[in-house]
């Protein structure tokens, strides 16, 4: 991936084809190289398309980049920053799979334009774990079998995170109400509610507010995760809570 430094305003785009051509071939400057599974597209901003230079903080890392004005926040995160943990289930604000925290508040990233995130702070599922330690919510989701197919899980986690930040000890009904914008077609709703209540009951569930300054999922976690590819990860409890026997 090219790391050419570049800073083009929307005005400069409109001023001449030179800038437009540059936009077509260059790659936005990222202050910190992110751990990404998939490299972002190399021709990110298409020629002749209105775009805007924005700054935003994602999982504690600042990004300055040009975004097409038509990109959604989900599209920016997934295709251009390489954070594919955020899923798109409907792309029209119905299912909640794309939920991220925008300045600490859960929003549908499919229904927010990327440019609206200018000057703001975004937290995605990749920003939940601290180094190799899963967030208590993630740990509870693992133990209580939250994800079946897992496609809605990132969104469920972020809605739950938003809830616990503002209401550290919710009732089951408050959990349901806060997460009702997150559809789970596997319909593992009972499990998700159980898991959020369990996470809220653990001591450190609410100690980590916000995401500023926190590192994103570290390489060590990545290694642990791939090691878990076929066997239980060391981070996963062997507790047999949740069984029906």
């Amino acid at each position: 991936m090219s790391k050419r430094k570049r800073d083009i305003s929307r005005r400069q785009f409109l001023e001449g084809t030179g800038a437009v051509l540059a936009a077509a071939t260059a790659v936005p400057a990222l202050k910190v190289k992110l751990p990404t599974a998939n490299p972002p597209a190399t021709d990110d901003v298409a020629s002749g398309v209105p775009s805007t230079a924005i700054r935003l903080v994602v999982n504690g890392t600042e990004h300055r980049l040009d975004v097409e004005d038509r990109w959604t926040l989900a599209e920016l995160l997934r295709d251009h920053i390489g954070l594919t943990g955020t899923k798109i289930g409907c792309d029209r604000g119905e299912c909640g799979a794309c939920t991220v925290l925008l300045d600490g508040k859960p929003v549908y990233s499919c229904s927010n334009l990327a440019v609206w995130a200018d000057g703001r702070e975004v937290q995605t599922v990749e920003g939940l774990a601290q180094g190799e330690h899963l967030d208590p919510l993630q740990q509870a989701f693992v133990e209580h079998d939250g994800p079946q197919c897992g496609f809605c899980t990132s969104g469920q986690l972020m809605s739950a995170k938003g809830l616990l930040t503002h209401n550290p000890h919710p009732t089951a009904q408050e959990v349901r109400a806060a997460m009702t914008g997150n559809i789970c077609r596997c319909s593992n709703y009972n499990r998700y509610v159980e898991a959020v209540l369990a996470a809220a009951a653990t001591k450190n569930a609410t100690t980590s507010k916000g995401s500023s300054g926190r590192s994103t999922a570290s390489t060590k976690l990545g290694a642990e995760v791939s090691a878990a590819n076929g066997r239980r990860s060391p981070a996963v409890s062997t507790s047999s809570r949740g069984g029906a026997r």
């Binding site: 079946q148 197919c149 319909s187 990545g222």
Partner: protein, 720 residues
């Protein structure tokens, strides 16, 4: 077959175990097909028919092709690939012989188009926005044709014939005949019965609505195609792709590491796979085709809607004498799957006749959705029987215990039988005697009511494969062609291997979801993976143990490799899983609103491999069933033939606030077959949930709700 060990001796099986890939799923590290990005990848979009039935007179793609960034446009004129799994006589996708003879072929682009949302053209461009823009530049001249939406109406002589052979879908012999089952003589049965009851029930099109929309990333290297696609069966998908594209199986590689659910609509290969492959071939670049949620709702498939007529004869002491079903299933214009309506097999009865017509309509295509033929049929027949019990002044549980199946079709013994135990345990846990009351008897505007339904569902044995390698470092690598759609197959396969090998789960690695690395697997459909592929894992493990005993543990660069492709049989017995659901609802008779207050689900799925994930499966199935009973429908505008409720919001898919607590009880039995006695579970939770909810609503308000979904307007209408 030797008897499996008792539960007490099992170290891994039967113990609640978090999924082996749960950490990946909660950290966003799990790579789903849509997360795959290949260098130089193009994006594809599909133009779909705005008409329910129309002939394409002309397509002009010149403006689209002239748009900078557009690399290729496919239409029926330049792409004539037949999608074999899209429409097959008899809906028997798995049979190659039938695919060869079928007369009614579904191309990936058809002319005429036969439903709103049918693919008309596809575009590949350098980004998704250009592809979308290009769709708007394609001009299509349509000659609209008459259309028909309802399965019964489609059989009237004045209705448009969607295919030249008529609107009764062709069967596996290319004959336009209904599916018929008979035993005894129903007419004689009705003559001798003391009471005869007749009624009509209908069920609607319910979409699978899995969270991950259909998509495909296709890439050619020379003459070899690689697909990253969400499929419930990599082996089947590969074979289907090879057949449809006319290339050998080994020239196709299908990879599916994680997938966001399917519930039956990601079986086989899909038109999206074929379109992406053709665009990739055409452009010489990798292509990612993504379907929108609306396209997924109308362009893939959902559960077939049905109309069911029942006639039931009983003796004066409430014993069934004759049972007749005449049913119609709306298949959309292509018979993707069977279109069957099950339910008559639930009852012991000397005289039975079931006649089911799979019918073509101009609605969205119907196909498999979690227990394809079951919930709609079980709703119809168990509502009917609940009503017969009521009219005979019998407690519904007593009526069921008197009339339920004891042998398969009253003839072949089951491999074991715990249906009665399921019902009795459920009635006890639910406190049936306390909660059930004469229908509509509660005073006040908000009325409670209790209902129950029961089930049997096939739990067949069959062929599948597994390979296990033991390396000198002591690690066991299991190669199985499963994809984990959410049911936990990867975890289950690893647990089975660990148990049979007598090693900790942490010593087992799994390789899955890649046809170039894994042997054939049945695919995660029909609740078969645990039974079939799981049994292959056991056989491979046994072989490996024999090799270890013979040759000792491998040293240095050596490895031991064992494989198995068993095809076990249940020797003249029918294997089924059993279950009973008990529901209490509360109906607000002023608002028409239904709330589920208590839900008890009792299941015998044989040995439970992993109680943690098995419980989730049942909870999820039952909750989907409640959605089908109370909420979900793909409503069509009868004048335009257009769907009005395609999407989560419109179809009213269950949410956190709708979902009640589901109490799950397993009765673990052991019939001596399957891995450690396991039977099917994936589909078992949904099959009788719909009927149980419907019966609870009846008990609450004393009015029989005969048409799904049981929405507020229908309840208020019935009470008016």
């Amino acid at each position: 077959m030797s008897r499996p060990p008792t539960l007490a001796s099992l170290k891994t099986i039967g113990h609640a175990t978090p999924r082996i890939d749960a950490v990946e799923r909660v950290t966003g590290k799990a790579t789903y097909s849509g997360d795959v990005h290949l260098p130089g990848m193009l994006y594809a979009r599909v133009l779909r028919s705005p008409h329910a039935h129309a002939r394409i007179r002309q397509i002009d793609v010149s403006k689209a092709l002239a748009l900078p960034g557009v690399k290729s446009v496919l239409t029926h004129e330049n792409c004539t690939v037949v999608w074999g799994a899209g429409s097959i006589s008899g809906g028997r996708q798995y049979v190659d012989e039938i695919k060869k003879i079928t007369r009614q072929k579904r191309y990936i682009f058809n002319n005429p188009v036969r439903f709103f949302g049918e693919p008309v053209a596809a575009v590949a461009a350098t980004n998704r926005h250009i592809a979308e823009e290009a769709l708007r530049l394609i001009t299509v001249e349509y000659e609209t044709l008459p259309f028909v939406l309802d399965q019964e109406e489609a059989l009237r002589p004045e209705s448009v014939q969607i295919w030249p052979d008529g609107n009764v879908s062709l069967d596996a012999k290319n004959e336009a005949k209904p599916e018929v089952y008979r035993r005894g003589d129903v007419e004689e049965g009705f003559r001798t019965a003391d009471h005869v009851f007749e009624d009509r029930y209908t069920t609607t099109y319910v979409h699978n609505a899995q969270m991950e929309p259909r998509l495909c990333v296709a890439s050619w290297e020379g003459d070899k195609l690689t697909l990253y696609t969400p499929t419930q069966g990599t082996s089947n998908c590969r074979h289907d792709m090879a057949r449809d594209l006319g290339i050998p199986d080994e020239k196709v590689r299908v990879i599916c590491k994680y997938m966001g659910g399917g519930f039956g609509n990601k079986n086989q290969n899909q038109d999206a796979d074929l379109i992406a492959a053709m665009l990739a071939k055409e452009t010489g670049a990798p292509v990612k085709l993504e379907l929108s949620r609306k396209e997924d709702f109308i362009g893939v498939h959902g559960r077939w809607p049905t109309t069911q007529y029942y006639k039931v004869g009983v003796s004066k002491d409430g014993v069934l004498q004759a049972l007749q079903l005449r049913g119609y299933s709306g298949m959309g214009p292509y018979r993707k799957n069977s279109g069957g309506i099950t339910g008559v097999e639930l009852y012991q009865c000397p005289n039975v006749e079931s006649t089911v017509y799979p019918v073509y309509t101009n609605r969205a295509v119907s196909g498999n959705y979690r227990a394809p033929e079951f919930p709609q049929g079980f709703f119809g027949i168990q509502s009917m029987m609940d009503d017969v019990a009521y009219k005979m002044k019998m407690d519904p549980v007593e009526f069921v215990l008197k009339n339920m199946t004891r042998k398969s079709n009253d003839e072949v013994p089951y491999s074991n039988y715990t249906l009665e135990e399921c019902i009795r345990r459920g009635a006890e846990a639910f406190e049936w005697k306390k909660r059930w009351h004469p229908p509509g008897a509660e005073p006040g505007a908000i009325k409670r009511g209790a209902g129950m339904a029961f089930m049997t569902i096939r739990s067949p044995l069959g062929q599948s494969s597994a390979v296990i390698r033991l390396d000198s470092n002591g690690r066991y690598t299991v190669f199985v062609g499963v994809t984990d759609i959410g049911a936990g197959a990867k975890t289950t396969m690893s647990m089975i291997a660990a148990e049979e090998l007598g090693v900790p789960l942490s010593d087992v690695d799994l390789v899955w979801g890649d046809t170039d690395r894994c042997p054939y697997s049945v695919g995660e459909s029909g609740s078969r993976t645990t039974d079939m592929t799981g049994y292959a894992v056991i056989e491979a493990a046994r072989d490996l143990k024999r090799q270890i005993a013979e040759k000792g543990l491998p040293k240095g660069e050596n490895a031991l490799i064992a494989s198995a492709s068993p095809n076990p049989k249940s020797e003249g017995k029918v294997r089924k899983a059993f279950g009973a659901h008990f529901v209490e609802v509360e109906v607000d008779t002023e608002l028409g609103r239904v709330r589920v207050l208590k839900y008890v689900a009792v299941h015998d799925s044989g040995r439970i491999m992993n109680p943690l994930t098995a419980t989730s499966q049942v909870k999820g199935g039952a909750t989907q069933g409640i959605g089908m009973a109370l909420h979900e429908d793909l409503v069509y505008d009868r004048r335009s033939g257009q769907p009005l409720t395609a999407g989560y919001y419109g179809a009213r898919i269950m949410t956190h606030l709708d979902a009640p607590e589901i109490e799950v009880i397993f009765i673990e039995s052991d019939d001596g077959y399957g891995p450690f006695g396991a039977k099917c579970i994936g589909e078992a939770g949904i099959v009788h949930a719909v009927a149980a909810v419907g019966n609870a609503v009846f008990n609450s308000i004393g009015r029989r709700m005969k048409d799904l979904p049981i929405t507020r307007d229908k309840i208020l209408g019935a009470l008016a």
